[in-house]
């Protein structure tokens, strides 16, 4: 599953859009197996774009991205990663179990094998019993758990998550944070996690990458040395507050970058 050496290796990555906006500039980042790396930064810092470049969903302008030692493109075709969006993106016309088995169907798994794996994954995210439900019958938090189950169903080395809990309320969010850590431990995967929330980033990660905007750069990297396994009490430790403060100060120091250029009217581009 996870290769020795780097899972993700980014070097000199730059991304500019046709409109002249530079989303990312000279990004260098290495992610080791088993890490939980958060990307945090103000709107427009390119964190989501960076995530998508790793997933080969966006092409970089220059620089190299290696995932599992291969090009991002190869990694995508080899199904080396799973992705979770802020919107759970479940298909209304499929039941919960069929939503989870979607990537497995595309990989050509046999029906029996799919069934077993779906059962395992739903157990992992604690949604056993909801196999035949439809997505709209579930709460937002439950939908996201299905989305996570789906992303992990084929045992990818890497999990990319784009503000997966952004649309949920604080309490559900904290609960899902704990669940995610539990899943991370059990599945032994590497996670790259984009978020807006400083406490969330500190609570979940082994490293927090702080980005600044316009152009998108890495301003700072904060190592989170809180002990594992983490739980509710972790949020109340003094060290937690110190780290949150460190990240906050790194964000402020990274600054807002240059003033935003006005985008031409009619273009729909957000990072």
């Amino acid at each position: 599953m996870s290769a020795p050496g780097r899972v993700v290796s980014i070097s000199g990555l730059t991304k500019s859009f046709k409109t002249g906006v530079t989303a990312l500039q000279e990004i260098d980042l290495d992610i080791r197996p088993g890490e939980f790396v958060s990307l945090i930064g103000p709107s427009g810092c390119g964190k989501s774009t960076l995530l998508r470049i790793v997933g080969d969903l966006v092409q970089p302008t220059s620089g190299t991205v290696l995932v599992n030692g291969k090009t991002a493109h190869r990694a995508r075709l080899d199904h080396d990663y799973g992705i979770v969006f802020q919107d759970s993106v479940l298909y209304d016309w499929r039941t919960v179990s069929r939503n989870v088995s979607l990537p497995l169907e595309m990989l050509g798994w046999s029906r029996a094998r799919r069934k077993e794996r779906v059962r395992e994954m739903l157990e992992l995210v604690e949604l056993t019993g909801f196999e035949s439900n439809r997505p709209w019958q579930l709460s937002g938090g439950m939908q996201q758990r299905v989305s996570i189950a789906r992303a992990l169903s084929f045992d990818p080395a890497l999990l990319l998550m784009d503000e997966p809990f952004g649309a949920l309320d604080e309490m559900t969010r904290e609960r899902l944070n704990m669940e995610l850590l539990r899943i991370w431990e059990k599945a032994a995967s590497t996670i790259v996690f984009v978020t807006h929330s400083i406490p969330e980033a500190v609570f979940l990660s082994t490293r927090v990458v702080v980005m600044s905007a316009r152009p998108g750069r890495i301003a700072d990297v904060v190592d989170v040395d809180l002990p594992q396994p983490r739980g509710a009490e972790t949020r109340e430790q003094p060290r937690f507050f110190e780290l949150v403060t460190a990240v906050r100060e790194a964000l402020a120091a990274g600054g807002r970058g240059q003033p935003a250029p006005t985008l031409p009217a009619g273009t729909e581009e957000r990072y």
């Binding site: 989501s48 998508r52 969903l57 966006v58 031409p264 009619g266």
Partner: protein
């Protein structure tokens, strides 16, 4: 919600071309000309191929079933009766006649439909009672009743064009009512709460909030009804009692089709032109009133 701009991937369906206005318009005209030319080519090509091969499926092709395009165009300049007006003249007059009928009914129907929608939006009871019929009425083949209405009312002395206008009004009334109602109800609950916090009267809420919200829905219905009104007008004219309109022209030229096929084709081109013009008029009005591009889907 963060969404990377990805040229290679999907964008929203309301694609806006970021290019300059002039370039876009030029491209639009160019595509139009190209497609038109392609269609003409297709017509003549099909005709040539079928005549050359002698195929009779789906129908035999000759100068009567498929006149040459240039012959049809030439027909516009020919007189319809010896010494009479040229075809294009009489067709344009007929089109204008039909247009007036259709528009009169269209406007009347739209006003009544809108009024009804306002009433139903404010009375749950009336809505419950009448809505099913308004919905079911759309499945009644109004167009099927058209000749009967015109003949019947005509025999009572009502001028032909008035009966046709009533028909057009009927065709417009129901779609407008249903869509306007949907639009009046489509107001965001929070916007309503805001209005209530201003202690706004029902009337104010209606005009400041509901009506503007319902306009896109109403225009959708108007675009459909505009077309339907023209069709209704043409159908209504066909039972040979109204000679002055396009329907009458169609019936006339249909009788002499084997002798002069181009006249009927020319009439259909004018009828198509009428339908498209009225539709375009409504679409243009929509653009002006709503100050945005009309929805790309009919």
């Amino acid at each position: 919600m963060a969404m990377a701009s990805v040229p290679a991937l999907e964008r929203h369906r309301g694609i806006r071309v970021g290019a300059s206005r002039a370039g876009g318009a030029l491209r639009r005209v160019g595509t139009f000309v190209a497609v038109l030319a392609a269609l003409c080519g297709l017509w003549e090509g099909y005709k040539w191929l079928w005549e050359w091969a002698g195929w009779t499926w789906p129908f035999t092709v000759d100068d009567v079933t498929m006149p040459h395009l240039h012959d049809i165009l030439a027909a516009f300049a020919e007189p319809t009766t010896t010494g009479g007006p040229v075809l294009i003249d009489s067709l344009l007059h007929a089109a204008w006649f039909t247009a007036k009928e259709a528009l009169a009914g269209f406007v009347l129907g739209a006003l009544i439909g809108f009024g009804l929608a306002v009433v139903l939006a404010h009375s749950r009871l009336l809505e419950r009672g009448l809505l099913p019929y308004i919905v079911a009425s759309q499945t009644v083949p109004i167009l099927a009743i058209a000749p009967m209405v015109v003949v019947g009312l005509g025999s009572k002395g009502l001028e032909g064009w008035k009966a046709v206008a009533i028909l057009a009004a009927y065709l417009t009334f129901f779609p407008v009512a249903i869509n306007a109602l949907r639009g009046l109800h489509s107001v965001d609950a929070r916007a309503l709460e805001l209005m209530n916090s201003y202690a706004a009267s029902r009337w104010k809420v209606l005009w400041r909030l509901r009506v503007p919200a319902s306009l896109p829905f109403i225009f959708t219905a108007l675009k459909i009804s505009a077309t339907a009104s023209v069709i209704g007008a043409i159908i209504g004219e066909t039972p040979a009692s109204i000679q002055d309109g396009l329907g009458g022209a169609i019936v006339n030229f249909n009788q002499y089709y084997s002798l002069q096929p181009t006249f009927l084709w020319a009439t259909n081109i004018v009828a198509a032109g009428l339908g498209i013009s009225i539709f375009a008029l409504v679409a243009l009005t929509e653009r002006v009133v709503l100050r945005r591009a009309p929805e790309n889907v009919a």
